[in-house]
């Protein structure tokens, strides 16, 4: 086996740190993933991320993790987010606008009630790359 260089060791350390961080994030009650592929970004995903951010700040919520991931494969239904409440099946919301974000945040993220009108599917979604 070839010897590891300092740079390679550094990368391994960073990767391990990243995994530790991911484990730590399980303390959150809810996770909102905004899908940020080229399709999502072109359709307004950053604005959607901003709208969720505004909700988190305005309502002073500290137990919700806001993050992003890549394209989920349904480019024509972007902007799209996946909402995961701890212990419940993930829900994917499609064709989003900042107005819809407000409703989803209040009803689903804070109230626990799925907004069926905006949801695409429940239970089969993954948020990893």
């Amino acid at each position: 086996m070839p010897k590891l260089t300092i740079e390679e060791l550094e990368k391994l350390r960073e990767r391990a740190k990243k995994q530790t961080f991911l484990r730590e994030t399980t303390d959150y009650r809810a996770k909102i993933t905004v899908h940020m592929g080229t399709c999502g970004i072109a359709a307004g995903a950053r604005e959607i991320m901003n709208a969720f951010l505004k909700e988190v700040q305005e309502k002073d919520v500290t137990d919700v993790l806001l993050t992003n991931s890549g394209c989920a494969g349904l480019c024509s239904r972007e902007p799209m987010v996946t909402v995961e409440i701890k212990g419940q099946a993930p829900v994917k919301y499609v064709d989003l606008t900042p107005e819809k974000v407000k409703v989803i945040f209040e009803k689903h993220v804070l109230g626990g009630e799925i907004v069926q009108d905006y949801a695409l599917g429940i239970g089969s979604e993954k948020t990893d790359y």
Partner: protein, 177 residues
């Protein structure tokens, strides 16, 4: 893509998908020459020669979720439309560097857009990654670094809601040239 800040978000997301632990973004505006340079450099997994050749082909992608890959080709097109340049260098295991040059007085030059919002989105989405943003306008330079912000947070994660005002403060300071 409506503006350059969205292109930046898109290409930087590629770096993060390539498991980069450090991303350096350089934005260089030269008002005398009427040019804008945008460089995105990462230490991610990089690409071999064959993949690199196909990277700007819109009908090529390494992703499994879809069969087209528009991100880099759209950025290249946006730069070329102004009479500018686009180049990409990459080595497997070492990282990738995307460099663009735009002529700002060309009528096809897209607006810069909301760079602070793009940086905040990147930080929140990938708090484990070290993000460095270097902003140069003529002879002036400012730097935003997540390492610096982290040092002030005393262990509080970068993506915790309480950290957002501090991150925005640092980003806005860096943009204020």
């Amino acid at each position: 893509m409506e503006d350059l800040s969205l292109h930046l978000l898109d290409v930087a997301e590629n770096s993060l998908a390539a498991q980069a632990t450090r991303v350096i973004i350089t934005l260089e505006i030269n008002t005398a020459n009427k040019t804008l340079r945008l460089i995105i450099e990462d230490n991610g997994q990089g690409m071999d020669k064959q993949t690199l050749k196909k990277a700007v082909d819109p009908f090529f992608t390494t992703k499994k979720t879809r069969r087209i890959g528009l991100g880099l080709s759209l950025l290249a097109q946006a730069a070329h439309a102004t009479g500018g340049q686009f180049s990409i260098e990459s080595k497997p295991g070492q990282g990738t560097k995307v460099s663009t040059l735009f002529y700002t007085d060309h009528w096809d030059f897209k607006p810069l857009g909301d760079i602070p919002q793009t940086l905040l989105t990147l930080v929140l989405g990938h708090p484990e990654v070290e993000l460095i943003f270097i902003y140069r306008r003529d002879d002036k330079e400012t730097i935003f670094s997540t390492k610096e912000v982290k040092a002030k947070l005393n262990g509080l994660p970068l993506n915790s809601p309480a950290a957002i005002p501090l991150i925005m403060n640092h980003i806005n300071k860096a943009m204020n040239l």
